[in-house]
């Protein structure tokens, strides 16, 4: 079956209270590049602020045509948090040229869209824009932090019957976005394919810890103590990889990268309210010397017992390398015979 048999799957993309980083990331799609990826599933951007030719009136005319039902809208993508301030007016972001709050545009367009996709943690839950005192009264499309609600309300369902699809991540991996759109275009995304925070399970059912190259250090709790150390960053440097729902270490970023491959902690950027961990991001909070963030499903006591044993068993190699910024002792070359 050729993918070209049917109508294109149309996408309209708006940006509001975000940093544009999700789009910047999206443009990094590779193997194949963004255009080829979208074309392979017959996905067409009606308009995207970074890519489209149409400016000003031309763009507004298109939005109006969509609202009027003249142009079918399969997916409305929103990047950036929705701003409710000041005082519920939403005027901390009026869509340029329209004198209308962007949050209102979002609500009107969401009403006619087959699917609504929140691109990035901002659009999903408020994200960094909602951090601290949340000066702009930012929220996500269907969540306000961990609380359901947000710009469209907890009850919102798009025409397809799905809630907002929360492609959370700050930024999103390019292919979290393209694959979500492709799955929607292929009619393969059902409600049960979203997790309890509305994230596509295809990436949210993984943990960042899966495939982290520091796994061997983790196994022995051979821990990095300072930035640039090679050891596992869970014990001291704030790594939440064992709890963060994402496939960053199996999918990889920008070639061979990922946060932990880049030497810094996973800060759990796909989670609602990741922006307020309650401690310094790059420091692991401890109670009684025990890290408070423990792996998902892991009974704490077991973890502690295992950890202390593992520490006792740590091979010298890992013990030394964990706190160095390059390998001091390589793994021994041993012949693998029958024992």
């Amino acid at each position: 079956m050729s993918t070209l048999a049917r109508e294109p799957f149309t996408v309209l993309w708006l940006q509001s209270g975000g940093c544009g980083g999700c789009t910047m990331s999206l443009l990094c799609a590779e193997a194949p590049d963004l255009a080829a990826t979208l074309a392979s599933a017959n996905i067409r951007f009606l308009w995207h602020p970074t890519l489209s030719e149409e400016t000003g009136d031309e763009a507004i005319a298109l939005f109006e045509a969509v609202l009027a039902g003249e142009v079918r809208l399969d997916a409305l993508c929103i990047e950036g948090a929705l701003l409710r301030g000041p005082n519920g007016t939403g005027r901390f972001h009026t869509l340029a040229g329209t004198d209308t709050a962007t949050i209102d545009w979002a609500r009107r367009l969401a009403a006619v869209a087959e699917h609504v996709v929140a691109v990035g943690t901002c659009a999903a839950y408020g994200g960094v824009t909602a951090a601290g005192v949340n000066p702009a009264d930012a929220c996500g499309l269907q969540y306000d932090g961990r609380r359901p609600g947000g710009a469209l309300g907890a009850a919102f369902r798009s025409r397809s019957g799905l809630p907002v699809v929360n492609v959370a991540g700050c930024p999103t991996h390019p292919n979290w976005v393209t694959e979500t759109l492709m799955l929607l275009a292929s009619d393969l995304m059902r409600a049960e394919d979203l997790d309890s925070y509305g994230r596509p399970r295809f990436y949210a059912d993984h943990l960042v810890h899966h495939g982290c190259p520091r796994n061997e250090y983790y196994e022995y709790k051979a821990s990095a103590e300072k930035m640039s150390d090679l050891g596992c960053m869970m014990e001291h440097l704030g790594c939440l990889g064992t709890q963060a729902h994402a496939d960053c270490n199996t999918r990889l970023w920008n070639g061979e990268g990922s946060c932990t491959r880049g030497g810094h902690a996973c800060i759990n950027c796909t989670a609602p309210e990741f922006e307020e961990p309650g401690h310094a991001f790059l420091e692991t909070p401890k109670i009684g010397g025990i890290p408070v963030g423990l792996p998902t499903d892991m009974p704490k006591a077991w973890f502690i017992a295992l950890s202390s044993l593992a520490k006792a068993a740590t091979p010298d190699r890992l013990r030394r390398n964990a706190t160095a910024d390059h390998v001091l002792t390589p793994p021994a070359v041993r012949d693998i015979r029958k024992r």
Partner: protein, 485 residues
């Protein structure tokens, strides 16, 4: 023919980073006055208050996804200032590579994705270069657009190798970088940069980067246009000549750069100011922000950033933007790649500045020449990395103090001013490049650089989103999420 003054409101203004609105007073087919509105306010400076200072490395980059690394560098510099440490040699060189990667990527994005597609608009279909421009630069589809995006993606593998990912890496630390590179990483970097070089030399410049970096004056530029190697650079020069882009969008011709890429000694691109044909040093203490036409409280007087504040005033009627007006010694300054090259003394940039000042063509040429220069420097830095030597110096955060971090982002001078009290951030002020360029009028009514540059822009019959205005606006490579944060 004299007509009534008409008001045009142009927006949403896309192919710029973030949302932008421009109000124009138009008469006799040209712009008489322009008012720039940055319509989005998030409040990052407030979000940062009360946090652990080191959290700035997480929060600040998220001001902007296109210059995220620059933001993180500014924050790291401020933190280093507070901790009183400097990066290790490896840390410095790796940071240069990470920064340069973002800047080159941004330049490529700007030229191919943001700027050139305007020449593929139907309005130009009668021009001799139109077919080529359309084939190569039709928005989102043109050959060169797609090739450039692919090359940009390849270039950003440098981030995968040195920074984990992009945007929003935590790799840049006050004492250096979070991850070392080994010899094989060096090889991968060489291969990556080699691939970028190859594509740009083949498609964009049609010539070795070195030849581009060495263009010494306007005459050579003209020669390149007339008989230079085929490529998108030459195509642009042709279009610029045909549309007389060198006459479009001149502002104050006062240039500002904080200086970019720390070398062993000094910087690759020296910082300072350049105005009236003279280069000068820079006194950061002379920087202030004026809130007169920003919808911000604190209009009484301009604020030095260490004393700055960010209290949005939704009810304000005189303010026409969320953007404050930065001034150096009370004057508006233009910043960006062209400004940086002028300040750094690149002969072509200086010659352009002398002959025609900053304009649509000069800004674009500045960016393309800088791209070549920076890539050449990057290849050298890769070889300066020293696997085995330390990557990150360690420091300790004082309970209180203040420090700023000044760096050059793709779009120009970026500064973070941080005040720490009781181990927490007490004040954080950010002045981004586009804050300078797209600043509103100030207390004395001086318009910002863009507002100035737009005056005189020709408007064609019936245009509601005038194409000349678009060229001028985009020639600055504006980033609206930086402008107001």
């Amino acid at each position: 023919m004299s007509t009534e003054t008409k008001r045009l409101v142009v927006g949403p203004f896309n192919r710029v980073e973030g949302d932008l609105e421009v109000r124009l007073d138009v008469a006799d087919g040209e712009v008489r006055q322009a008012f720039v509105n940055s319509p989005l306010f998030r409040g990052f400076e407030r979000i940062l208050e009360g946090r652990d200072p080191r959290d700035a490395l997480v929060i600040a980059p998220r001001i902007c996804g296109i210059c995220s690394v620059s933001q993180s560098h500014a924050a790291a510099l401020a933190l280093a200032g507070l901790e009183g440490i400097a990066p290790t040699d490896n840390g410095r060189v790796a940071t240069n590579l990470i920064l340069a990667t973002e800047n080159v990527a941004d330049h490529l994005t700007h030229f191919h994705v943001f700027f050139m597609p305007d020449f593929a608009r139907a309005i130009y279909e009668d021009r001799p270069w139109f077919a080529t421009a359309a084939r190569r630069f039709k928005a989102a589809q043109g050959e060169s657009v797609r090739r450039a995006l692919a090359t940009r993606a390849t270039l950003l593998h440098v981030m995968g190798l040195l920074a984990g990912r992009w945007p929003h890496t935590l790799a840049i630390q006050p004492g250096g970088v979070a991850k070392g590179a080994d010899a094989r990483d060096q090889m991968r970097l060489i291969a990556t940069l080699g691939a970028v070089r190859a594509d740009l030399e083949e498609r964009l410049y049609g010539a070795p980067l070195e030849r581009v970096a060495e263009i010494a004056d306007v005459a050579e530029l003209e020669a390149w246009r007339q008989a230079g190697p085929d490529g998108d650079f030459r195509l642009f020069l042709e279009i610029a000549a045909d549309l007389d882009l060198a006459r479009l969008g001149r502002a104050h011709d006062r240039f500002l750069s904080y200086g970019a890429y720390a070398l062993d000694e000094g910087r690759l691109y020296t910082g300072g100011t350049f105005a009236n044909g003279r280069a000068k040093g820079l006194d950061p203490a002379a920087i202030t922000e004026d809130h007169s036409f920003a919808r911000m409280e604190g209009r009484e007087a301009p604020h030095p950033p260490f004393e700055g504040s960010t209290f949005p005033d939704g009810a304000d009627e005189t303010g026409y933007t969320w953007c404050k007006a930065p001034r150096l010694s009370g004057l508006p300054f233009e910043t960006g790649a062209f400004a940086r090259q002028v300040v750094a003394g690149h002969p072509l940039a200086r010659d352009l500045a002398a002959r025609e000042g900053a304009n649509v063509r000069a800004r674009v040429v500045g960016r393309l020449v800088e791209t070549a220069r920076t890539l050449i420097a990057m290849e050298g830095w890769v070889r300066q990395l020293h696997p085995g030597a330390p990557w990150c110096a360690q420091g300790a955060m004082p309970q209180s103090g203040r420090a700023f971090g000044l760096t050059e982002a793709a779009r120009g001078a970026l500064g973070h001013w941080m005040v720490v009290e009781k181990g927490r951030i007490a004040r954080y002020q950010i002045i981004a490049p586009t804050t300078w360029n797209f600043s509103p009028r100030d207390a004395v009514g001086q318009p910002g650089p863009l507002e100035t540059a737009l005056v005189g822009a020709p408007i064609r019959q019936g245009e509601t989103t005038p194409v000349s205005v678009q060229h001028i606006v985009r020639s600055f490579d504006p980033c609206m999420v930086c402008t107001v944060h």
